[in-house]
Amino acid sequence: MTVRVQTEDFDVGFELNQLRHVRKDTGAIVSFVGQVRDLNDGDTVTRLTLEHYPGMTEKALEGIINQAKTRWNFFDALIIHRVGSLKPTDQIVLVAVSGAHRVEAFKACEFIMDFLKTEAPFWKKEVTQDGERWLEAKQSDDLARERWAKTIA
């Protein structure tokens, strides 16, 4: 398991290539990349600043991967999340999961993202034409997490 919180950008190709070679019985890698949009709630976004809680963030992300492990039999998982000042089209987050087959990897990747969205201590602040504003948590993200409670892997 690898969890990294960093200001620098990441190279998805490089990271997935690393994951491919962890185990030779890996048959599937599923990845998700989140990036900065230039539009939110109808307003043009020029910058996005991400703040986090050092220490807790890493622990929360590792905890999310461990929770996923209790549900699906995947091989390895990687989370990279950026913090600091970002601009539209910049990458924010990479979640990648490897496994023998695709089903576990797809589910674990989605589960990790849904929990990251609702439990990992990151906060976004965006700059629009009207100034700066903190993003509000979305109810749809809570619902996305809740549905895992009702699902049996």
């Binding site: 987050v93 439990e119 990992a120 201590p121 903190w134 948590a137």
Partner: protein, 89 residues
């Protein structure tokens, strides 16, 4: 008892506090300290503190890097944090 408190995002910005060390007399109040009781204590500092900690904004608490609810107990040496619902990813 001594605890360390961290504030993040909108709370940090509005309260103009990122972290503080708080020392409380070892009395019955301290022994029964919870997240909610600590919020109420801090809210007495000013209207802004009241609004930020007990107002409309949903404030989440963490103790020693674990998300907890309002009834979670705080003990000597704990690291407590207050922040709005998270918005990463």
């Amino acid at each position: 008892m001594k605890i360390k408190i961290f504030y993040f995002a909108r709370l940090k910005e509005t309260l103009k506090f990122s972290t503080e060390d708080l020392e409380l007399p070892d009395d019955a109040f301290a022994q029964a300290l919870t997240i909610l009781k600590l919020k109420a204590l801090l809210a007495k500092r000013s209207d802004v503190w009241q609004q930020m900690l007990l107002g409309k904004l949903k404030v989440r608490g963490a103790i020693n890097h674990e998300l907890v609810d309002d009834n979670a107990k705080i003990v000597d040496g704990d690291e407590v944090a207050f922040f709005p619902p998270v918005t990463g990813g």
